[in-house]
């Protein structure tokens, strides 16, 4: 028994596409299967993990929860459309510089969520970034590099070229060899901060 098919007119990354797909197919399925745009990832199919996030008319949408037929008149953006000609999107370059993509599976969804945030709010606070990204799970990074990369990309978009975040880790000098325990730790005057 063949599934009923529907012909759809979709606008994906600025390109008009006519797609024939099973009527019940989600936007995720149509992007990945009918359009071969596999940058949008297949995760939980229940709207829990965020890896399938795309932009629909500029808003982040979980493509596993939306039927393709619902977004016929909309502008759909995926990770494949983020680059501006040969130039990386600022988010892509700050993520690369800070190593904010580790295994990379959550990355496309996070990039698009962040793109929508920056477009809406050019100077997001850390709290706003955290809140915006809280529907996109990441299991590798602990989120900090991602948050820094978003903040930096927002600054680049505002034209602040020197916004690179400060040194990443607190580095120790080479570890001293055997020495007695620090005598100062009980003295709060030694505390800096």
């Amino acid at each position: 028994m063949a599934d009923p098919m529907t012909a759809l007119n979709l606008r994906i990354n600025g390109e008009e596409r006519r797609v024939l797909s099973p009527t019940h197919h989600t936007l995720l399925e149509v992007l990945r299967e009918e359009c071969s745009l596999t940058g949008t990832k297949h995760g939980c199919e229940l709207g829990e993990c965020g890896v399938c996030t795309v932009l629909v008319d500029g808003q982040p949408v979980l493509s596993c929860l939306v039927l393709a037929a619902e977004v016929e008149e909309c502008a759909i953006e995926t990770v494949e459309g983020m680059q501006r000609g040969n130039e990386l999107h600022p988010l892509q370059s700050t993520f690369a510089d800070l190593g904010a993509a580790q295994c990379g599976y959550c990355t496309p969804g996070i990039l698009l969520t962040a793109q929508a945030l920056i477009a809406d709010n050019p100077q997001p606070s850390d709290g706003e970034i955290r809140e915006a990204l809280s529907g996109n799970l990441c299991r590798c990074t602990g989120y900090h590099k991602i948050i820094e990369a978003v903040r930096w990309a927002a600054a680049l978009e505002r034209g602040e070229a020197d916004a690179k975040p400060p040194s990443e880790a607190l580095y120790g000098s080479p570890l001293p060899r055997i020495s007695p325990p620090s005598a100062q730790e009980e003295d709060p005057r030694q505390e800096k901060g």
Partner: protein, 728 residues
């Protein structure tokens, strides 16, 4: 150096296995057991599915023995007569689409006559629940040094404590998945995995094929954390069986719910400490019992138990130590490899126990640790004399300074006295993590690695170590480029493919940079020698020599090679469990500051400091990513992530109610490294991957105890559990 594969991942070009275009492929799905234990009476395939072109595979389709090759031959590929856990695979189907395969699998009914299931690893099984030996014990081990009973009897103070930790699901963002197809006589399996040669050996045995007829290729892998060490062998064999039966390519991709329900997880543990102490708090004797829930089959439980036990006495000196451990068989999903591999469980227990001791005998928890921390010349539980020159007191001091520990403590006293419903506290954990395989593991593995000098002057690293998000390809590029004085662009990293790369061991045990990195250095030296150059040669000279060599030897392969050599002075006895358990340890102190809301009984980490000595830091960005990522996974394990069990199956096998940390849940995490280069590690590095999972849970629990005065000992500390403690 920036990540080697970063740009592909950032532009959506990386092909994970589900993304791979595979012409003419069928989709696989798995039919699973509905019961925790029982006899399979019947597998009912509805009439309309029979003869519908659906491909069906069960245990009778296996050419080889029905076992997943690992440590013990007890893990069936497809259940035959009996099942030992819910969601155990029984039958495989393949259909023209993912949806059709799933629909068909859902209509096939496995009818099981139930038998009494062993569901609580802490309880002695009844006669009807016995399924392994005469006691359901999968593995038993003992570490003993000194005269423990005498020392305990003579100790002025003895402090006892029991601690428990729950299961943890890996939640790699990319679910398990494999593609399989036939290339003439050869079975090719391509997919998401950590250890290509584990999968190869499992496949050759199950399919009864020689190694030359099996080829395993790693695809881009969306996270592993140990979950893609043992389990991918099953997915790979299943996909291959379907491909052979259908004579068409197969994609077998788990969905999230199936992955969470059916795959391995971190071992739950119960740990009891009896500690003999002097009046001042010096540890005189340890008597420790470790019990792990092994789940339905052995998988890697013996080695998880052994690593857990070796870490159970913590980074402290003590001459009289007894650690008894066992892994119990139960009718739940098999527990397997997960970042930390037993050490997070036992380090949670000892580090929470240290604070329990401190409170009981009235000694400051920092002083108690200072008094007992190993100094060079002292021995660990297995009798390994530590003399690496690392000043562990200094690691602790740095963590106290960065977290402003003492100052915060006094601030919290004032804050807690005033605030209506918030309570703040700060806690610490001192710990260590052995890098590389336990005991004689590295020697037995005899890892081999090649670097190929190419005709165009570039160099390709041929290694079975996999990139799973941690940065293998970047570190390997960096090490090879430095060693040969070449630009990183001149280095290629081969995709792990058992037909192209030698077996330099699995990507596990925090061994990649330390052990395999060192092999790369030595293989690079060997390559240089093969073209007649010495260690002083520049990159330009090397490249010219490579080009010249190939002109003289057309169509030949030029390889530099290295095989693992054990660092000198390492002795280990597998029989007595005595000796040098690991060639190197990372040392760390983590500090957590928490805030408990007495209205909601939630504990939230508000600041975190992670200080560690891990040899030389090779790439600050990657190292920090490993630490911060591990800390957040540890915060999840401590406070949020609870597997809820229902008749041996995970009931909350979805991310709606199995909660992992989001960007909104993570505190500031300040990471500091102290460096003491390890002479036998790649560029001086020691292992780093697992260490950060060990420290967060005990530091957080100690902070909650400091904040509220309660004594939490069962992990995870979800609000329900904290409420019980506070209301008592």
């Amino acid at each position: 150096m920036k990540r080697f594969e970063g740009l592909e991942k950032l532009t959506g070009r990386t092909l994970f296995i589900d993304d791979l275009p595979l012409e003419n492929c069928l989709w696989g799905a798995t039919v699973r057991s509905p019961a925790a234990r029982g006899t399979i009476r019947q597998v009912r395939v509805p009439n309309h599915l029979e003869g519908s072109g659906l491909v069906l595979v069960d245990h009778r389709d296996l050419p080889g023995p029905n076992v997943v090759s690992l440590i013990t031959d007890d893990w069936p590929i497809l259940a035959a007569e009996t099942v030992r856990h819910r969601y155990e695979p029984v039958m495989l189907v393949a259909a023209e689409s993912r949806a059709a395969a799933r629909r068909a699998a859902a209509q096939i009914e496995v009818v099981v006559d139930p038998l009494p299931a062993a569901l609580d690893f802490r309880q002695t099984p009844t006669a009807e629940q016995i399924q392994v030996g005469d006691d359901n014990v999968l593995k038993q081990l003992k570490i003993e040094r000194g005269e423990v009973d005498e020392a305990l009897a003579a100790a002025p103070i003895v402090v006892e404590g029991e601690y428990e930790t729950g299961a943890q699901e890996h939640v790699y963002l990319e679910p398990q998945g494999m593609a399989a197809w036939l290339d003439g006589e050869v079975v090719v399996v391509h997919g998401s995995l950590q250890c290509p040669y584990y999968v190869e050996s499992a496949l050759t045995r199950a399919l009864d094929l020689p190694a030359e007829r099996v080829r395993v290729i790693q695809a881009a892998t969306g996270g592993g954390f140990g979950g893609k060490e043992d389990f991918p062998s099953i997915v790979a064999i299943h996909a291959a069986l379907l491909a052979i039966k259908a004579q068409r390519p197969i994609k077998l991709i788990y969905d999230r719910g199936e992955d969470m329900a059916a795959t391995t997880k971190r071992h739950p543990a119960w740990i009891r400490h009896r500690t003999g102490l002097s009046e001042e708090g010096q540890i005189l004797a340890h008597d420790i019992e470790v019990v792990l829930d092994g789940g339905a089959y052995v998988t890697l439980s013996p080695v998880v138990l052994s690593r857990g036990m070796i870490h159970a006495a913590g980074p402290y000196a003590c001459d009289h130590v007894r650690i008894r451990g066992r892994a119990m068989m139960t009718n739940s999903v098999p527990f397997g490899a997960f970042r930390g591999f037993g050490a997070p469980q036992t380090l949670f227990a000892i580090e929470r126990h240290m604070d329990v001791i401190a409170k009981q005998i009235g000694v400051d928890p920092v002083k108690l640790r200072r008094l007992n921390l190993l100094t060079d010349g002292q021995a660990t539980a297995t009798g390994q004399v530590i003399d690496d020159g690392t000043d562990r007191q200094q690691v602790l001091s740095r963590a106290l300074d960065l977290s402003r520990f003492t100052y915060k403590r006094s601030q919290h006293t004032a804050f807690n006295a005033e605030h209506a419903y918030l309570r703040r506290g700060i806690g610490l954990a001192c710990f260590f993590h052995g890098a590389g395989f336990t005991g004689s593991g590295e020697r037995a593995m005899k890892s081999l690695l090649h670097v190929a000098g190419l005709a165009d002057g570039r160099v390709e690293v041929l290694s079975a170590s996999t990139e799973i998000g941690q940065g293998t390809t970047t570190i390997f590029t960096q090490i090879a480029a430095d060693q040969l004085r070449l630009d990183p662009e001149q280095i290629l990293i081969a995709q792990p493919d058992t037909w192209r790369v030698p077996d330099n061991g699995p990507t596990v045990a925090s061994r990649t940079t330390m052990v395999v990195g060192r092999l790369i250095e030595r293989a690079c030296d060997n390559l240089r020698e093969r073209v007649g150059l010495d260690a002083a040669a520049t990159g330009t000279e090397l490249q010219a020599a490579l080009v010249a060599w190939h002109e003289e030897h057309p169509d030949e392969e030029l390889l530099g090679s290295a095989r693992y050599q054990q660092p000198p002075g390492i002795e280990w006895d597998d029989e007595t469990y005595r000796g040098d358990a690991y060639s190197a340890y990372g040392w760390a102190t983590y500090v957590a500051e928490v805030e408990v809301d007495l209205r909601t009984y939630t504990a939230r980490v508000i600041d975190f400091v992670a200080v560690q000595e891990i040899g030389k830091v090779l790439n600050e960005t990657l190292a920090r990513g490993q630490i911060q990522g591990g800390v957040v996974q540890g915060i999840g394990w401590a406070l949020l992530e609870e597997c809820r069990w229902q008749e041996g199956g995970m009931a909350n096998h979805q991310l709606t109610n199995y909660i992992i940390p989001t960007s909104d849940d993570v505190p500031s995490i300040r990471v500091a490294f102290l460096e003491n280069p390890y002479p036998h590690g790649g560029q001086g590095a020691k292992g780093i991957g697992e260490l950060p999972l060990d420290g967060p849970a005990p530091a957080i629990f100690n902070a909650v105890a400091a904040a509220t005065g309660v004594d939490p000992r069962v992990l995870p500390l979800v609000p329900e559990r904290l409420m019980e403690l506070i209301e008592q």
